[in-house]
Symmetry: C2
């Protein structure tokens, strides 16, 4: 590791200029400076221009925290995600970040590492300094979320709580397509390798898998695993094999990728010996051999929609969300007829 030298001379950081500095410089009052800078057109145009120029000349920069105190408006949003390791949350973050940036909003970000207690304390700590909060894949209880939503506007993604705005991609279509796909390939018995018990989205996906399978007369079992990671997927193989199913859907692509990898290492043919359907269609799904069939989720769009919704709650540019957020099956090579090995 190289480290550039730190400054020899201790950096003299002069206090940044305030509106009083530009007031002094221009001869106007602080009130007028404030208006010139923030209420364009409400004061004499000449005055405004002179003040703006002066402000620019001394590098005046508004102090957002000082403004927030009297107004209560921070122009800052918080986003909390439960697991930064999961590419899906990264996509959500990315979507949220894009609309925040384009709205000149500051974005405060934290991860709770799947720990509900940490999530709650972080949310409480952050709430006073933001206008609103996005909870992505929250592991909190419904009541805890409702409590937070009493303090400041909260919008959920990939989670539903009665009474709190939420953006959740519709999972039904994609899952039905996947189940139809498997059935048409000849599978009669399928499994769902499930994710964290605390994950609302996991429950939701399992419910729909269950209903879809039952509605089509297929046998279906849930195969719970530890972590929704590649390692979790790898660890699931014995149970998947023992279950006797010929195809599985998984909670997410990480699990599917892990499963795919160990299956191949164990010389089990995919899809001949086992068909695998992932979920979310993340980066890497089309890199494997065989490539991974996956139910695609518009995660970036969900993140964007969530941030827009939050802005709407705050009566800012309520720019309507981008229509339906649907999942849909992306068929690749990891699914095929059973016993085709």
């Amino acid at each position: 590791m190289e480290e550039a030298e730190t400054d020899a001379r201790p950096v003299r950081r002069k206090a940044p200029p305030t509106i009083y500095d530009v007031a002094k410089l221009t001869g106007f009052s602080a009130s007028t400076v404030s208006r010139a800078l923030n209420k364009p057109g409400r004061i004499n145009a000449k005055t405004e221009e002179r003040i703006r120029d002066a402000a620019a000349s001394i590098g005046y920069q508004l102090n957002p925290m000082a403004r927030a105190l009297p107004t209560g408006r921070t122009d800052t949003m918080a986003v909390l995600i439960s697991d930064i390791t999961n590419p899906v949350y990264l996509q959500l973050l990315r979507g949220a970040e894009h609309v925040a940036t384009s709205s000149e909003l500051t974005l405060v970000f934290a991860e709770s590492q799947e720990d509900p207690a940490l999530e709650l304390s972080t949310a409480r700590r952050l709430l006073p300094s933001v206008d609103g909060m996005l909870l992505f894949g929250s592991r909190l209880t419904d009541d805890q979320i409702l409590d937070l939503a009493e303090i400041k506007p909260v919008v959920l993604a990939n989670r539903e709580v009665e009474g709190v705005p939420a953006i959740v991609p519709e999972v039904t279509v994609g899952i039905r397509q996947a189940v139809d796909h498997l059935q048409s390939l000849g599978h009669r018995s399928i499994g769902y390798v499930s994710g964290p018990a605390t994950s609302w989205m996991n429950r939701r996906r399992w419910e729909v898998v269950f209903e879809s399978a039952v509605a089509r007369g297929l046998t279906v079992v849930e195969i719970p695993i530890g972590d929704a990671t590649m390692a979790g997927g790898e660890a699931a193989l014995p149970r998947v094999l023992a279950s006797g199913v010929t195809a599985v859907l998984t909670y997410n692509d990480l699990v599917a990728l892990g499963l795919l990898r160990t299956a191949r290492a164990a010389r089990i043919d995919v899809p001949g010996g086992l068909s695998i359907v992932g979920f979310d269609n993340v980066f890497g799904a089309d890199l494997t051999t065989p490539t991974l069939t996956s139910i695609g989720t518009p995660s970036t769009e969900v993140g964007e929609a969530a941030m827009r919704r939050l802005l709407g709650e705050l009566d800012r540019e309520a720019e309507a969300a981008a229509g339906l957020l649907e999942t849909s099956l992306v068929v690749r090579e990891s699914t095929g007829p059973p016993g085709a090995a």
Copy 2:
């Protein structure tokens, strides 16, 4: 997309309690409440306890912005990354986030989408409300960075500027290993598929590749591409082939992965017809066929070290950084003897 109903009753958000509320409740002054809550042990133990209890009972929560005004201390750090799409920056972010969270620090996050102008304006906007700033893969000029560093402490990652603290993984060892590896396989002519011209890290990597190759008597060429993405890597194939090299190192794994994919699609044997060495060893590198040989970079550790360094600059728990941050070659299947197809 489903959206949970918004509250029927318009949520009455009561103003959050202040220290004056707990002062009133306990009969002590606001000054004493402030001390009880923030300077443990400096006032009567009984008093302190009573005040803490009262504060907890009404759900008092410190307003960080109100505190920041008189103290100038925000307990908030900003991290700016140039491209959220690049997994490496995500790793850096993740490392920084982890130490921030464990230090009870708030983390403000923004992406500049490879746009220097946006990076500069975002940095300026954020600086007043944070204690310090991390610039990851900054695309600013040295002078711009120096200007920012005059305002608040700045720490760089994957970029060096004289006079500004920086955390940069040592790239030499990994690159030398890679060049040795290629030479020992029999390659005599290698290429470097380079990344963004604005990227300091790209220049640095090229320099070391160049020196290493020359020192070993190998022929070496730089092959510049547009974007450092998979698509960029795909687009680079014709130029790589035209250059006549038998092996390439790439600026990063995304480029390598793109190149690998099109090469195979074009029925070029990897490594027989072309050996490929990626950089950073990101998620997905061991998922491909063939798996990708890559120079591993400890990105999460770099992010952590950068945040620790920033804390050090601010005289907070200067917990020494975790020793040397080295790169090292991870040999997989995408490299082999030339002409072995």
